[in-house]
Subunit: 231 residues, 2 copies
DNA sequence: CGCGTTATTCTGGTATACAATATCCCAGAA
DNA sequence: TTCTGGGATATTGTATACCAGAATAACGCG
């Protein structure tokens, strides 16, 4: 049985230690990698990475452990760390969970978001795309799309919700780069967004929840049916 | 003559390293602690714990890092690791997220659960409580209640969903021990469960989703209004 | 006698050393 | 020539050593 000493905690200072910088470096490196390009899984060498970053293996291992917990990396005992390649099923699960969480965020937003915030949401996302969706910048629309969903999360005003969705979002980055830019889906997406904003302004929690979840699940279904480069 | 079958070793290999055992030991120790009993936060001393467990500090630190990531422990740079005490707001957020995920699980279950599984769900959870809810075992009902919700999660058949809810569940353990056993809530809970099972059997995704979410959120509200020992 | 300053100690963060084991290559036999 | 087995090598897992900063105690000054 473990015995713990008891102390009083006073200040909670937040310093970004070495391991955090290593973590950030590794994460961005991993996200940048094109996982689905080669057949072989890239292996992450601790020594090599430590040397490249100019630190010892210790913070590298801590960073890898965090990345493993977030699902970006798999550490096999005595074998090393590997970047994980998600199966289609796993990707679909991620999107489904995302949908559930975003739905809850939107639901909470009907109680917690101010009129001003909702007005801002509408002005930022409705005026822009609906007019010239067919024009040029599909990438720009894609960014806009992401910002819309992240705004929804913000309006839910739940730190936990936000942090969990951030973690899932990292995983979705992989897919986003490859995701088909489907004009049909884009159009439907825009109209869905309008419906969602309407329901938010009408303060209808159940309806918003259902709209957001349905919107998210349609993406899951689309990925499940049309994305074939995933095993 | 002996013939050996060729097996896939990777899936069978269950090597629990030293850090995993340390992790399990720490987690159970922390969960057992009564966090809200004393005013002071227990501090976790790395050296002391390493000595008690007969290992070096390294695996202890790795275990602490994992626990921090799961939200049970907070590591303050150069100050040490502390068991976290959740604020009421954080508890409410946990329950809300839980509700969102469980709702999604139930929704998925309307497509993925077999008739047999749903029948089993009904037989296990309806017959039992509705008759003698006022009788004796409130604790037993509480366990039954948990099993019901975990069954819902299982039926969603999403590993990700399950793992995320397991993590949240650990956090809720703290609260559960203190949670008020309210007869009124218990009664409503039972009838809610019946409605949920009905909707599952009717394969109505939106309705099940809404029922489960509503059920979960009612707990969040209850905690928010009636639990005062949380700061 | 009390408060502020400084010195010591204690603890966590990082680096490094050691041990265990998986991988790889080559030699020898079928 | 190919397959198997054993050893060399490389890499991870764990332990220990060292360093920096914070908590604490001791000391001196008002």
């Amino acid at each position: 049985m473990l015995v713990f000493r008891v102390v009083q905690i006073e200040s909670l200072k937040i310093e970004s230690g070495l391991k955090d910088r290593v973590y950030d470096a590794l994460k961005s490196a991993i996200v940048q990698m094109d996982i689905y390009a080669s057949e072989e899984l890239p292996k992450l060498d601790e020594r090599q990475m430590a040397e490249q970053l100019g630190v010892s293996r210790t913070p590298v291992r801590e960073a890898l452990a965090r990345l493993e917990h977030e699902g970006l990396v798999r550490m096999v005992p005595r074998r090393g760390a590997f970047v994980v390649r998600k199966s289609k099923r796993e990707i679909v699960e991620i999107i489904q969970v995302w949908a559930g969480l975003e739905g809850m965020a939107a639901r909470l937003a009907t109680e917690l978001a101010s009129d001003k915030e909702l007005a801002s949401l509408r002005s930022r996302f409705v005026t822009f795309d609906s007019t010239d969706k067919a024009s040029a910048a599909i990438d720009e629309y894609s960014d806009q799309n992401i910002r819309f969903h992240q705004s929804i999360v913000e309006l839910g005003k739940s730190e936990l919700l936000k942090s969990m969705m951030d973690r899932l979002f990292i995983q979705m980055q992989f897919i986003r780069r490859h995701s088909v830019r489907n004009a049909d889906r884009t159009a439907r997406s825009v109209s869905d967004h309008i419906l969602i904003i309407d329901a938010l302004e009408a303060r209808l929690p159940e309806r918003v929840h259902e709209l957001v979840v349905g919107h998210g699940l349609s993406l899951a279904e689309h990925v499940n049916e049309h994305i074939d480069y995933l095993k």
